[in-house]
């Protein structure tokens, strides 16, 4: 054989053997990380709960007015869609409106936020119904192209969580209907608190985290006694959600009643610095949100994070696919207040429905929206199925809300959410320019967290950019 062909063969053999050896090698194994099993816990109790709702709140009597008919296209995320379809809300809807056909288009959130404004501005291609988060809906309200729903929502103005209406309001008119809210609570791991020789019942923990300073102390204790992180707060890819919750609970945000930018106000800076103390104290984990390692932190049996400040919808995520193996280990309590005696409630997320003006079947669209959002039965069904917290307050009078949840150690978590919701102050976070504001502030937080700038400088830089971009003061 010629030398050249020998070398070619050797090269190929070398490559193949590297691959094979890599696959078979058994080196000294470092501690294997917790691996998430695929089994998704199916919410078996849904059927029982749904039955209870059916018996407790009978279906409303059909009205005499002519029923809308035809086909409607609904844009929705998969998780919410499942929560509406699976427990039979659509079936109920069709029972009352037999001539309306619902056509689902499942999108991921980013796609909706890219395609909806384009469709609105193009004048075609928009659905009859779109499910949009409060954080983004105001932009579309001001963009134009959404149907005016003022008359339709009038009967429900005082029945929905009050703070939700601001997101869909413009010049006294309403352009959307709230569906769900994101009341913020503190989730914690009972086993971690026990290990740190701290109280592990909701009231006890609630006292331990009564203020953010108390929370800081508690985290230090947990770190000392167990070596575990208190919660997750990524530095380099921080998206500002926790910071926003902290601002919201103080009735503050990115702007004020006059529409002036408050991103660099003394209070905003102080709030960021409060969050900074957790980074400085090395008390938090640096996993990036919504990545496998972040999920692993919750699912871990021996090395989890101790707590998490997040909205009600996180509960079902933990239960069903993030940490299904940790049933019974979690508890829920009120989030910390900024200062003693202040508000221990905030909002993160929350969504509603809009009807694009170009829809050719607005009556059917509204019928669908009203049925899903403003009927106790529907609201409680999607709540039971997906822990999507309804904004419709009459729904809270249901035995569903005083059911203990085994995942949370038998705690009556739903009542906690309904207690929190009325306390949520008016928010100055979401709004017409939320995306820009969140973008700049997130970058500022990242710079601050990674030690590149002081909180004041970083927020000032963000504020200047926002003012230039939006033309606000």
């Amino acid at each position: 054989m010629s030398r050249k062909s020998v070398f070619t063969y050797l090269t190929v053999v070398l490559m193949l053997s590297t691959l094979i050896l890599g696959a078979c090698a058994q080196p000294a194994t470092p501690a294997a990380p917790q691996i998430i099993k695929e089994t998704v816990v199916v919410e078996k109790p849904v059927d029982k709960v749904v039955e209870k709702i059916v018996t407790a709140t009978p279906a409303p009597k059909p009205t005499a007015a002519p029923k809308p008919k035809g086909k409607i296209t609904v844009w929705m995320w998969k998780a919410t869609q499942d929560s509406i379809v699976n427990p039979g809300v659509v079936k109920d809807f069709n029972a009352e409106y037999p001539d309306v056909q619902v056509e689902w288009v499942t999108y991921n959130p980013q796609d909706v936020y890219q395609k909806l404004p384009l469709a609105l501005s193009a004048g075609t291609g928009a659905p009859d119904v779109a499910y949009v988060e409060d954080s983004h809906v105001t932009k579309y309200v001001y963009l134009g192209g959404l149907a005016d729903l003022t008359d339709k929502v009038k009967p429900y103005l005082d029945k929905m969580n009050q703070y939700k209406w601001a997101a869909v309001m413009k010049d006294g008119k309403y352009y959307g209907m709230p569906m769900d809210s994101g009341p913020v609570v503190l989730y914690y791991r009972r086993d971690v608190f026990k290990k740190a020789e701290l109280a592990d019942d909701p009231d006890g923990v609630g006292k331990l985290v009564a203020t953010w300073d108390d929370y800081l102390q508690t985290c230090k204790t947990i770190k000392q006694k167990t070596g575990l992180n208190c919660f997750s707060s990524n530095k380099a890819n921080n998206y500002g959600r926790l910071y926003e919750m902290m601002l919201w609970q103080q009735g503050m945000g990115y702007y004020n009643d006059k529409g002036e930018v408050t991103v660099d106000s003394a209070d905003n800076i102080a709030t960021l610095e409060k969050l900074g103390e957790f980074w400085k104290g090395n008390l938090v984990s640096d996993e990036q949100d919504w990545t496998d390692n972040w999920y692993a932190d919750f699912a871990s049996l021996d090395k989890p994070v101790a707590s998490l400040v997040e909205a009600a919808w996180m509960g079902v995520f933990l239960k069903s696919w993030i940490a299904p193996g940790t049933g019974g280990k979690w508890g829920v309590t009120l989030m910390p207040a900024m200062k003693a005696g202040q508000v221990r409630a905030s909002n993160d997320g929350g969504s509603g429905f809009v009807i694009p003006e170009q829809s050719k079947n607005k009556d059917a669209a509204w019928a669908f929206i009203e049925f899903v959002c403003a009927r106790e039965r529907s609201a409680n069904k999607f709540f039971a199925a997906g822990d999507i917290f309804p904004s419709f307050e009459p729904a809270y009078n249901d035995p569903l809300y005083i059911e203990p949840d085994t995942f949370f150690g038998g705690q009556v978590t739903r009542k906690m959410y309904t207690d929190v919701v009325p306390k949520i102050p008016k928010g100055y976070i979401y709004g017409q320019y939320y995306q820009e504001m969140n973008g700049y502030v997130s970058t500022a937080i990242q710079k601050y967290a990674t030690g590149k700038m002081s909180a004041a400088d970083a927020l000032k830089e963000a504020a200047t950019a926002i003012r230039k971009q939006t033309g606000l003061k």
């Binding site: 010629s2 050249k4 062909s5 404004p117 384009l118 932009k139 990036q288 990545t291 995306q435 200047t464």
Partner: protein
Amino acid sequence: MAESASALRAPARPVFPAPRQGLLREIWKSRWAYLFISPFYILFAVFFLYPLLMSIYLSLTEWSGLGPIKFVGLANFQRLLDDRVFWQSMQNGVILFFMYVPLQTFLALVLAVVLNSRRVRGFQLFRTLIFMPYITNKVAAGFAFRLLLTKNNGLVNLFLGLFGIAAVPWLEDIWWARVSLCLLIIWAWLGYNMVIMLAGLQTIPSELNEAALIDGASPVQAFLHITIPLMRPVILFCVVLSTMGSFDLFAETRSLAGGTGAGPMNATLTPIVDIFNMAFGNLRLGSASAMSYVYFAVIFILTLLQVRYFGREES
């Protein structure tokens, strides 16, 4: 028939004493040529020239795509001067350029020389293997890299762990994020550059190299003083292409970094992503158009500089 054929082939010369009339005659005689190129140019006019002019107009307005168009003159450009994020994206383009272009060009040249030398068997196999990444769509490639570069238990960190190296935060640190992006770019385009260089090398007569070696030059000397100067145009081509490419990364950053692809603290934000977000995210069509022109201007100047720099040095 024959005379019209030769008239078609002859250069257009005006017929005295009436040049205009001659021109019209030429045009009529060349009617087939125009017919052949007109489908192309009609589309060119509608889908290139017209949008180009429209975008100049748009850059002087403020518009969300819906409702009235507001004329604002040069306000968008003025605002752009202070737009930190945009200039960060331009800076990222420059940083990325220096991070991967020299390395990639050099590697491509070396690989091409190696493959071109008659010492290597399996030329076709290697050329194919090294080129293969180029034909992948960059969304798929970006996700594959995201998986490989996952900090905890991604394949790369596991491999590094065998040597006792701590887990690298590939996608979570400003500079590592850029390195990750460069890895993806080099993976995708090294083969392409190599193939171009190979073609260039094959136009260099091998006698030149052999003559130098006979005269006593070492292979390295021959490489430096004969190959590289002769390859100058091809190298320039690759460098210019890479320059434009490093500002134009969209799918790569989006799938590698997630979200809009900006990365930690906008470390991997590229101008095209910023313009895209401005136009289709924030719905500021005027600002986006203004940004695209400034972007064009910067790239154009950079490219001109490169051509000048490379073109001037003669050995």
